[in-house]
């Protein structure tokens, strides 16, 4: 199935959840802020958030410094 991540189309396997997608993208789940179809997803829910065809995700991966 296809999902859109930060404006770009990604082809992922059916049944992939958000935690698996982050892992595939090599992102540290502790350092990301995720919005799925305009709703904020909290980190505790990453592994219980299945992705569906056409989902639109905004994923910000923070780097340290401030």
């Amino acid at each position: 199935m296809n999902v859109t991540v930060n404006g770009e189309m990604h082809k992922i396997e059916d049944g992939t959840d958000l935690a698996q997608l982050l892992k595939q993208m090599e992102l540290n789940a502790d350092c990301v802020a995720v919005e799925c179809n305009l709703d904020v997803v909290e980190r505790e829910a990453f592994s219980s958030t299945p992705l569906s065809e056409g989902d639109t995700l905004e994923i910000v991966s923070f780097v340290g410094g401030g």
């Binding site: 350092c31 802020a33 904020v40 905004e58 340290g64 410094g65």
Partner: protein, 267 residues
Amino acid sequence: MQIHLNERIISIGGEETLFNIRDRFKQDADVLILNGFPSNRDAELTAGDRVVLIRRGEIPDAAELEAQLMARSTPGVYEAIHGATVGIAGVGGLGSSIAVALARTGVGRLILADFDLVEPSNLNRQQYFIDQIGMPKVDALKANLARINPNVQTALFYGRLNRENIPQIFAPVDILVEAFDAPDQKALLVETFRKNHPTKPVVAGSGMAGYGSANTVVTRRAGKNFYLCGDGESAAAPGNGLMAPRVGVAAHHQANAVLRLLLGEEP
């Protein structure tokens, strides 16, 4: 017609000039500001003009001072933002500079939160002084802001922010600024606040370490009511430090994003 003179509305005749107003209201003024821009030439005034007359070196009374502090701002900006409340989570390199910029611009109320004390390694980029080493940063910053603009109110939280206290501490804000150092804390703050206050904008920072080009630091929309400032990738790490110029560029991107949001503009 009516004009603003030192932020008070006065009625004057139809054919007044800047110099006439100076001669009538403050003969010894040596800085004349017309609509946010200093003028050393006489000019005809039109209705709605904003004139500020300043005598160099004189400290005026509180109401007059408030007007004079904002005399160089774009007309209308101070009126639009002095009722606003902005939260700043973390008052280190980003947060202390953002607070100073917003206080100078005249944001009415700042909620400042940080658990840390001022220490010597902060001073290469943070808005503190040698004689403040050992003070809680929030207390030191409150003192510094009061010296810059006494019209800014501050509310302080000295302690660690977590999932439980973030929604309450920042409940009164119009906009939240994320200005932490650690990436997991940045993510937790942004996620928690946005989940609880989805209609309030968040302006976060990511990627300002080192001395790479300042031109790679940008402001961008990163979600619904969510804006991100930085280059997105320059992490603080061994061999890549944090220094005043580039941290300051990112901080001022954040401060300008806040200002634009308060004025109803997309950052």
